[in-house]
Amino acid sequence: MADPVPIAQVVIHQRSGEGCIQEDRVFCPGWAIDNIDRYVDPTLQHVVLVAASVGLGFAIAFGLALLSHRRRWLVPPLIGFTGALYTIPSLAFFFLLLPITGRGRDTAIIALTAYTLQIIYRNIVAGLANVPGDIKEAGRGMGLTERQLLWRVELPLATPEIVAGLRIATVSTVALATLAVFAGGGGLGSEIIAGSNITFKTGIVIAGSIAILMAFAFDAFLFLAQRVLTPWRRAVQA
């Protein structure tokens, strides 16, 4: 149905049904290069979702850990509570929150934050618990208050385990944030299923690959950050 090109009319193309995109092959490099700018906004939205959720999750988990540091009896119930938040599937969480917080990015962030709490909290607590008793005794012997002990000795020594928890939480959140599209929160999920993207193999592959690379990038960043924060370090545990 090729029409000649008249003035001020829509150009009708002849499509042969051939070519990488028209055959909907799994990955079309040419199209990817031409259209990569389409993925910029979703990627940035995705980064914001992850950073905000993990940041908030860390803040809350840290607060909970401080709270339970001298009150060991709080740990099991808090593990249980954060565990329940972890178990509830994020999609369900988005829509349980919907009547309260409405559709949008904030709802997605709240749900993603809730998901990170258990792993971060558990790792902070475990990290603090693993500080050898004799080091703490030595600290007290040197005249440090409990508070100084915590901030100057215990937390620095717990850093590897805390960062390990952050790494796990971040990688998981990058993958999970693809679901934010269901809550109206944008992110790479919108390039996977929104509109007619759901059948577009190349698009799914690109969006999925960006997510995976982002996860590894965050992971590497945190790993290096830990190296910087703990210069006295022994071998890193994964």
Binding site: M1, D3, V5, P6, I7, A8, Q9, V10, V11, I12, H13, R15, G17, I21, Q22, W31, D34, N35, R38, I193, A194, G195, S196, N197, I198, T199, F200, T202, G203
Partner: protein, 325 residues
């Protein structure tokens, strides 16, 4: 703004020619001389008075709707309104509800869908003529405090799609031919198809077909499921690009007229129309003039086959058709 260099060159040539003609021919802008046809493509003028009026344009959840929503939204934006988009709302019932409670101010609907889904007409009673169908629905819309604008030139209908090879093999040409076969065949369609008289419900009741299984899937997958062999039959649209560009699929003839065709009506809240002034209706009717059947199929193809975004396709359409510079 298409990324294809060949199209870019074409558009550049078009704009250059249009510029030459624009200078020598009509210098008048908002002149609704009702010429119609190709030569009368008018550029939309931005009216600063419209800047105070906020309009949210919605759409339903498949390619043609995304494109239409974008076209109307971008056109109204060019006319100076403050436009927000809330596309991909869902089925017609959801869109209507969003419209009535003010979440959106307008969206494009099909006459056939409105008459059968909203106003409980029987599918065989839906007029084939778009203007007639529009007039029939006007009062019903008015009762809901909604205004429908005159119809587009093209119309679209639900259709029962099949792989050509399979249809030939089974000797099936019309939907009635499926009688006796249906219990061995699987049908795939949108989730709301189960409840629509111009979809599964009509096939079951009016044709008396009992399928082996109906599986609801996302509308976007309607051709995938045929390709993968999962579906024997799939509910598709007559304006789909895939039908025009490939020989692979065939649609069965709707011999009992259960799947009526509908032209597009832009439906808006009465309140919005009153506040927005004459530019609203003028702009809407202007930009849809170019939507002939081949053009709509072309636009669908650009999204579904070339994988361009609906936003870009809509803006290319407005430029190519001459409504926007």
């Amino acid at each position: 703004m298409s990324s294809n260099p060949r199209v870019r060159a074409l558009i550049a040539a078009l704009l250059a020619l249009a510029l030459v003609f624009g200078v020598t021919a009509c210098g008048d802008d908002d002149d609704d001389d009702g010429d119609g046809g190709n030569g009368g493509a008018q550029v939309i003028e931005s009216n600063p008075d419209n800047g105070d009026i906020a309009i949210t344009v919605g759409s339903k959840n498949f390619t043609e709707q995304f494109i239409l929503g974008e076209i109307y939204a971008q056109a109204l934006d060019a006319a100076g309104y403050r436009v927000e988009k809330d596309l991909n709302l869902g089925s017609e019932q959801i869109a209507l509800e969003s419209l009535r409670n003010g979440e959106i101010d307008a969206y494009p609907e099909y006459t056939s869908t409105a008459l059968t889904s909203f106003f409980e007409a029987a599918p065989e009673d839906v007029p084939a003529d778009g203007q007639q169908a529009f007039e029939e629905s006007e009062d019903d819309f008015a009762q809901l405090d909604l205004t429908a604008f005159p119809p587009t030139e093209f119309s679209s209908a639900n259709a029962v799609g099949m792989l050509r090879s399979q249809a030939e093999q089974q000797g099936v040409e019309t939907i009635s031919d499926l009688e006796g076969e249906a219990q061995n065949l699987t049908l795939f369609g949108s989730p709301e198809c189960r409840q629509r008289i111009d979809c599964l419900l009509g096939l079951q009741q009016n044709y008396g077909l009992q399928f082996d299984k109906f599986t609801p899937v996302d509308i976007g997958l309607r051709y995938e499921v045929l390709d993968n062999g999962q579906a024997d039959l799939s509910i598709v649209f007559t304006t789909d690009a895939q039908l025009a560009t490939s020989d692979k699929y065939v649609i069965l003839e709707d011999d009992q007229q259960v799947l009526p065709a509908g032209n597009v009506l832009f439906v808006a809240r009465q309140q919005t129309v009153d506040e927005a002034g004459p530019d609203f209706g003028d702009t809407v009717e202007l930009v849809q003039e170019g939507l002939t059947l081949p053009v709509m199929q072309e636009l669908n193809a650009r999204v579904d086959i070339d994988k361009e975004t609906p936003e870009r396709v809509a803006s290319d359409y407005l430029q190519e058709a001459g409504y926007v510079e």
